[in-house]
């Protein structure tokens, strides 16, 4: 199971979504697909046409910058970060 940490911008969009959850997934794309299954529409908030992770969303797997194809190991930590931008 991967440990997934989500940005604070997401729970207001998806009632019941926690900031931290465990998911059974083999890649980042799988994890996002599972999030989308449980909270429909989630994929569109994280992934743009391509598909690719949205430019201002950064995903780290075990503290390394990751893409959709990045593999997850047992107990991987996945941090989904809304980039420090805006004003």
């Amino acid at each position: 199971m991967a440990e997934v940490y989500l940005p604070s911008t997401l729970p207001p969009l998806f009632p019941g979504l926690p900031r931290h959850l465990q998911l059974d997934a083999s890649t980042v794309a799988d994890a996002i697909a599972e999030l989308d299954r449980q909270w429909p529409g989630m994929r569109d908030r994280l992934v743009e046409q391509g598909p690719a992770i949205r430019p201002h969303i950064h995903v780290y797997v075990d503290q390394e910058r990751a893409g959709l194809d990045t593999e997850l190991g047992a107990g991987s930590r996945v941090d989904v970060i809304a980039a420090i931008s805006g004003g």
């Binding site: 940005p7 911008t9 997401l10 207001p12 969009l13 429909p40 529409g41 569109d44 908030r45 994280l46 743009e48 046409q49 391509g50 598909p51 949205r54 201002h56 969303i57 809304a82 980039a83 931008s85 805006g86």
Partner: protein, 358 residues
């Protein structure tokens, strides 16, 4: 007694200004939509919902919906995109239209999406096929913040297949077959730059109908215009105004000859002239203009108003409303003779629409 809602799209969410039919006292509610940048918010009389076109740098484009006049909100972008294999890429939803039991959403890159289930799902209705679409969809040829389809306007009195759309920087288009084919309606419009195509290359900012559907007005990058033949041709009517540039415009809902514009400095500033906030009104279809300013700030008031930033209700004594890029909303219920501030400290305003709910 009826309820009047002024829907305000801002860079930091949607706000709802609420009053009764007298329109003298206003309550400000918001911010809604989690502070997402809202480009356009509208009320749908068919479903009773408020819809807000939004785009977040983090989370992409979506349409927010409130079925209870702003108390609670949800969002959906299901189908609101060009697909992983699509040639076009969506950056934002720029404009909304609600009519005939459906919603239309204008997007950048340029396309029009349709929802027939109150915003739950969307599908592409038209990408406005034109040889120039490769240009208006080319980021290298567009300014930052390009809106793509910046406005969609139903044709008053006609069925859903007849509506109008603006592609920012290129053209006003008319379709009579629900977006299958489009005709550019720019005859008589001036462009102060070289154009690559005969029929387009005109920067239409706002297009509004008078109560006579054959008479319409537009605020263009290069002048204010009137059409008396249903948009087949246009006549410039800006003489007497402090500049031919502006974004916002509003047509009187009961008098075909009365039209309002907000001329702006056409340079970098794009604010009202001389620091004096003013709305200009014609009572004779553009032959002459009067500066309307009572109640508006007349000293150091460098206010901007964007293309979707002005509207009017259709009550017997109509109300006119505009919102500024510095967060003020002003309204008039006496034909523009005097104005009052409905809200003073909102975020930068992108759009203002009004709904009267009985």
């Amino acid at each position: 007694m009826s309820k009047v809602l002024v829907l305000v799209g801002t860079r930091k969410g949607c706000f709802v200004l609420e009053s009764d039919g007298d329109r003298r006292n206003w309550d400000v509610k918001g911010p809604f939509c989690e502070g997402w940048p809202v480009y356009h918010a509208v009320y749908d009389h068919d479903s009773g919902g408020i819809y807000a076109a939004a785009a977040s740098e983090w989370h992409g484009a979506t349409v927010w919906k409130s079925a209870d006049l702003g108390e609670t909100w949800t969002q959906s972008s299901e189908g609101l995109g060009y697909g992983d294999d699509g040639e076009l890429k969506m950056s934002k939803v720029s404009s909304l239209s609600a009519a005939h039991g459906r919603l239309l959403a204008g997007a950048e890159q340029a396309g029009i999406f349709e929802s027939r289930d109150a915003g739950a799902t969307w599908k592409l209705l038209s990408a406005l096929d034109h040889p120039a679409s490769k240009d208006w969809n080319d980021p290298a040829k567009q300014p930052p913040g390009h809106l793509g389809v910046s406005a969609i306007t139903p044709h008053p009195g006609d069925g859903p297949e007849h509506f109008w759309a603006i592609v920012q920087g290129y053209s006003l288009f008319e379709t009579t077959d629900d977006g299958k084919t489009w005709t550019a309606r720019n005859e008589g419009i001036r462009a102060d730059w070289p154009r690559e195509y005969d029929d387009i290359g005109f920067c239409v900012h706002k297009h509004v109908f008078s109560p006579d559907v054959n008479r319409m007005y537009q605020q263009n990058h290069c002048g204010m215009y009137r059409s008396d033949d249903g948009g087949q041709s246009w006549t410039e009517i800006g003489e007497g105004l402090p500049s031919d540039f502006g974004f916002a415009a509003s047509a009187h809902p009961h008098d075909r000859d009365t039209f309002y514009v907000i001329p702006l400095d056409p340079g970098h500033a794009r604010t009202m002239h001389d620091g004096k906030a003013s709305v200009w009104r014609t009572r004779d279809a553009g032959s002459s203009w009067q500066r309307m300013y009572q109640g508006l700030p007349q000293e150091d008031a460098y206010l901007g108003v964007l293309r979707a930033g002005m509207t009017n209700d259709r009550l017997d004594s109509p109300g006119f409303y505009f919102g500024t890029s510095t967060g003020q909303v002003f309204g008039s219920i006496d034909e523009g003779e005097s104005w009052s501030e409905l809200a003073g400290y909102l975020p930068a305003i992108s759009s203002v629409e009004v709904a009267v709910i009985d």
